[in-house]
Symmetry: C2
Subunit: 231 residues, 2 copies
């Protein structure tokens, strides 16, 4: 875990583009924008979400340092029409959830760049592959019946994707670096905010998780937490 994407060419490409500093909660992009752009998250965290017809928020993906977004619409516009699997209605919003530095380029520039260098294409595929794996992971949460298990599964996933850099290797203690509210976690798992609050409280009382001074979720022993799922 915490391996970097091997996407150096892409990073260099984006760093030649426009950079902007964002605050927590800023809107970076929305899919209804007529000028398709691509973004590179230099530092910080972001989320993408849709608003459902009932007014609920459906968090689709999370992004951390070195992530590129949006990937699927960008690929789709370059590679042509697809299988029709993507049943999206409405706008997708991309929003920071911490102070962030983000580079942006036009989608067109990215295509021109990757046409000139096939290795860029490979790096884009790696990003897409990572994206796919994250989606597939999230589907796993669906198959747990109890809110408790869905939450534990999600915490393990977050510990895998966004561990704090300060953690020592092989330590069973993991600090989750991405700052998520109970509302966010509920919007990821399709559970109510109050349910997240209650289940987190139970996990805290069991000593499985805690909070550090800056509101990060701390997993006391990742193996112990993982064992809860397998039993």
């Amino acid at each position: 875990m915490s391996e970097n994407y091997t996407t150096q060419l892409l990073a260099d490409f984006f760093r030649k583009g426009r950079s902007r500093q964002y605050n927590d909660g800023d809107l970076v992009y929305e899919s209804s924008n007529p000028n398709p752009s691509v973004f590179y998250l230099e530092s910080g965290y972001a989320k993408s979400y849709m608003i459902t017809d009932e007014g609920n928020i459906n968090v689709m993906s999370l992004y951390g340092p070195n992530y590129i977004f949006p990937l699927i619409p960008t690929f789709r516009s370059q590679l042509g029409r697809g299988s029709g699997g993507y049943h999206a209605r409405g706008t997708i919003y991309y929003e920071t959830i911490s102070p962030s530095v983000i580079y942006s380029r036009s989608a067109k520039d990215l295509f021109t760049f990757s046409d000139r260098n096939h290795d860029v294409y490979k790096e884009l595929s790696i990003s897409l592959l990572n994206n796919s794996e994250i989606y597939l992971s999230r589907i796993g949460a669906m198959h747990y019946k109890l809110a408790r298990d869905k939450l534990i599964y999600q915490l393990l996933l977050l510990a895998n994707l966004f561990p704090s850099q300060t953690a020592q290797a092989k330590s069973p203690k993991v600090v989750i670096d991405i700052p998520l509210t109970h509302q966010d976690i509920g919007d990821i798992l399709g559970l109510a905010r109050e349910t997240i609050s209650r289940e987190m409280e139970k996990l805290k009382k069991s000593g499985l998780i805690s909070s550090d001074d800056s509101h990060h979720i701390v997993i006391t022993d990742i193996n112990e937490l993982s064992d809860l799922l397998t039993n």
Copy 2:
């Protein structure tokens, strides 16, 4: 919808490989196999699934004609280590759900082939992209609270992905070609078999769906069904 993947080179590559006829319910491959292979579904339908620690079945993906599987492990082995997002424990099984004709090649042959021809690489990316969109679609089901809405959402997805070829264009009536049992649908959505049975019965009584003579789900009016979700 029902557009073909633009993956002609891959189709030709696989058709030079070994072909086999499978019956309904045959195991095609399992991820614990030490000789990584790749499969091309010439005709028929298949599913991939894991068995959870509680003994539940977690259906991960569905495959129809012209689909290639497994994609993520294949890409991963070619592109290198990833982001750690894929939280898979245990074996993934690939199993037919109808009589099928499937071509197979070794993963190694596929890599050699795609190294010689960069357009193959592009076709693989298209397949991976389609895969991603299907996963993303499935995450959408998670955010509906009621079993009824999850089921309707899934039916709309299936109608989009696997419509019967005999349907006329622009007709609101859609026949879902992939043969799924109530158990399968439950395993996709994380719902109990009995729940699927009950909710399907209600939809039938409302006249929204029916069955044809060969056990295919028939959506009477796809717009009407879709409207049920948006209200």
